[in-house]
Symmetry: C2
Subunit: 343 residues, 2 copies
């Protein structure tokens, strides 16, 4: 508001008594103009409120400050949380993030990539859908736009990958469950959406082998992103037909575990290690709500902060080195066991 309205840089340059190109320089880097002119511009900014148009700015710039953040399903609190942190990291680094969710749909993911090209982003942080991703489209995109993948990896695509070390997750949970009770069965979706699920299954098998136990994998039917519901149905089934080979269960992820706990409650089965408990349930992710389940969920926690920080740091490196990295790095952060009452 302040005084009259300024519609473009031309007008603002006029009222500040400075030429437009110099004003343009100022906005791209205030320290690039002489102190006295910077003072005059900032004096004008006090009196008139003007900001360069975000989209016009990027139309003809060599390198923009835009970054895209793409997640597969934003209504999943895990992605909401990691996206939130990444977004704030980007803002702190002086970038302009825009967040997109593929809502679990390949077509939408492709549309997002198309829209992202037009944004002319300096870089993109992307957690792909995984199995449902259109690999060739993602690959093409990464050739055009410097991209760092996070959370779920696609081998060889993007300048780098930052995520969690699934083996660290599963080895810790399996070890813990085994040490404090029975070796666990592994509970997962038959057709997992996310590549991490496959790595976790393999890690489970490997750990069980290493410890000298027979692996038991329990599959829940159902596809899509309604993990809790799928977990609940799958759990009801195996709990009712008594096909569960053990009294301890390791769920592939917390959302399935939430469904599993819900099924246990419905059947009157007490979960935990204490008196009167029939089954122990542990999981992976440390989903934001795992702390509040009943019983609270024992789980291997993502290092949310490290993944978010390193993703953004890596993207900044990529951008600074001109959009390409000499070698594709994969950074995996270990899990941290969170012991709660469910196991």
């Amino acid at each position: 508001m302040k005084f009259s309205k300024i519609k473009n840089m031309e007008e603002f340059a006029a009222v500040s008594g400075i030429s437009r190109p110099t004003v343009s320089k100022y906005f791209n880097d205030p320290s690039s103009v002489r102190d006295s002119t910077r003072a005059r511009i900032e004096a004008a900014l006090e009196r008139y409120d003007y900001r360069p148009n975000l989209f016009a700015v990027n139309q003809n710039r060599r390198l923009t400050k835009n970054v895209g953040i793409v997640v597969p399903y934003l209504a999943d609190p895990f992605f909401a949380e990691i996206a939130r942190r990444i977004e704030q990291r980007c803002i702190a680094a002086g970038l302009r993030p825009t967040l997109y969710s593929a809502h679990g749909q390949q077509a939408l993911e492709n549309d997002i990539l198309d829209a992202l090209r037009d944004l002319r982003p300096a870089g993109v942080l992307m957690a792909p859908l995984g199995r449902a991703s259109d690999r060739s489209q993602v690959e093409r995109f990464c050739r055009d736009v410097p991209t760092v993948l996070f959370d779920s990896n696609i081998e060889g695509i993007g300048e780098a990958f930052v995520g969690s070390d699934n083996f660290s997750f599963v080895s810790q949970t399996v070890e813990y469950l085994t040490r404090t009770g029975e070796p666990p069965a592994f509970f997962e979706m038959r057709i997992p959406a996310n590549p991490n699920a496959n790595k976790r299954r393999l890690a489970y098998i490997k750990m069980m082998d290493r410890l000298g136990f027979e692996p038991h994998i329990v599959k829940a039917e159902g596809e899509g992103w309604a993990f809790e519901d799928i977990g609940r149905r799958g759990a009801l089934k195996v709990l009712q037909d008594g096909s569960l080979p053990t009294n301890s269960i390791l769920c592939s992820n917390d959302r399935l575990a939430i469904g599993f706990l819900s099924a246990c409650y419905a059947l009157g089965i007490n979960v935990g290690s204490g008196e009167g408990c029939a089954i122990r349930v542990a999981s992976n992710d440390d989903h934001p709500f795992s702390k509040f389940t009943c019983p609270p969920l024992t789980t291997a926690a993502h290092d949310y902060d490290s993944v978010a920080n390193r993703s953004v740091e890596t993207l900044l490196e990529v951008i600074e080195s001109g959009g390409r990295l000499a070698t594709r790095t994969e950074t995996l952060f270990p899990a941290k066991m969170i012991l709660r009452e469910s196991a």
Copy 2:
């Protein structure tokens, strides 16, 4: 990919043998060109992949197809879910939505509004932070950009409001709890972020009055968006010092209720109406995870679909009538009771 790369409309017009203005017309409305030329353009589209630059298109258009969607806190699954539906409705209506989260911060909400101006959106769908919103900024924004508020209302601001009828929510839950047991106490945050909370408290008091009972309001300390944690702490406090005046609790919202259930579990208090249950807990919202709590939460459900649909419909009306509505309408959808085991 296909053949060579097309960088702009000029080039595409050349290879398709049609003039650029006509091609431009085609992309704005394919039916506005003659069948034979449409066929030629589409034949060219088969051979070359070209799409007009999204941001350049909007630079000089009278009316864009952009819409902004602003929510206060996207890591809250309620907002993630409603935003997801609104986003998909917009896409279905041929609009181009962009989603923003204020992450609970006033400064961010203001930044988002600034960025949205530059997007030149045809309209904006906004769920404001509420108490934390910078009212004058939001008001200014709504004067410049046609905006429909949803979920939380700010009196007199925006072209319309679409949300849920808090009285319908609370009256049903209070009535149900009273009819099937004791009249409830009301559990809420001392300083609620959201204006709906205040309306719910007032509705509770009114209902209790009407039914001839003394209202009891239990306040949980804490600010911010970590509702579950605040609910849990608050519940632990009142459950431990025995200050709860009743055996039935109505939580202002489901996230608080999830915290409350967690506290009950920690203290070994059984929740529900059955044998051996000491307390009944009901709530409002039908949060996506309420179905999976232990016990599953009895709650008054938002009509997610209606709110999402009507919001988008209303915005379309606003846009069609040139950005302004004769009178500001407020549409409130009633709640639907979801009976589960917690009460």
